[in-house]
Subunit: 141 residues, 2 copies
């Protein structure tokens, strides 16, 4: 299951996209609109900022804003940063060392293709796609 880390992060970025006007948007407003505790939101933002998805400004008139246009964010990028990683098994994580049994593993090809499949799916959807509802997310299987 996708945790609140991923789901809330998506909602925060959607909110920033919907209310973007060039200046910084305080999280107090996002928290109120999205009905998420401000304190919890603050814990979700550092990875998004470190990943370069958002820009921040301290102090009065400060807040956060998107660094790009909504169609320049893929959902994969957002979820990966928010959740840490989305690999289905340990041995497919980016930072994983090669598993000793990988050559004989009967399930690894299945996990590997699964990972590619979901990566492809979420990489083809952008933040802008989510903003315009009524869009069908086509896929062929």
């Amino acid at each position: 299951m996708i945790s609140t880390k991923g789901r809330y992060s998506l909602r925060i970025l959607i909110d920033l996209a919907q209310h973007r006007n060039g200046s910084y948007i305080p999280m107090k407003d996002v928290a109120r609109r999205q009905n998420i505790s401000l304190k919890y939101i603050e814990r979700l933002l550092p990875p998004l900022k470190d990943g370069g998805l958002i820009d921040s400004l301290h102090g009065k008139g400060g807040g956060y804003k998107l660094t790009r246009e909504p169609d320049q964010y893929t959902i994969w990028e957002i979820l990966s940063l928010a959740e840490g990683n989305l690999a289905p098994v340990e041995c497919l994580r980016e930072d994983a060392e090669q598993c000793a049994r990988s050559a004989q593993c009967l399930t690894l090809p299945m996990w590997d293709n699964y990972y590619k499949l979901i990566k492809g799916y979420f990489s083809d959807i952008t933040l802008a796609d989510l903003l315009k509802r009524d869009v069908e997310y086509d896929y062929i299987i």
Copy 2:
């Protein structure tokens, strides 16, 4: 991430398939071959048995065996039973009540198609497919 519940369950069923001979196979043997503690294996089996994937017999000469041929098991079925459910978000679980915001939810269609995608993927792979290595799990995206 797929937990050990799902991954070990798969390995147990693969083992039962590889060593099937019509009679019951004691889990002691499976535990030794798969290098998984017998006690932990015993905790994974009830859902698989309740789901009708395996049959058991008490006592001497007893153990577990598959109830069908390996090509009659889909990976989706196995993982669903072992993991409980694989829905990416709460509102897509079988037992979930309709979410109040579902009509306006900007992300629900994305989750819904994601769920269908992975369900389709794992439903097209059978236990028999895993047994014959070198098989490519084709997908189109």
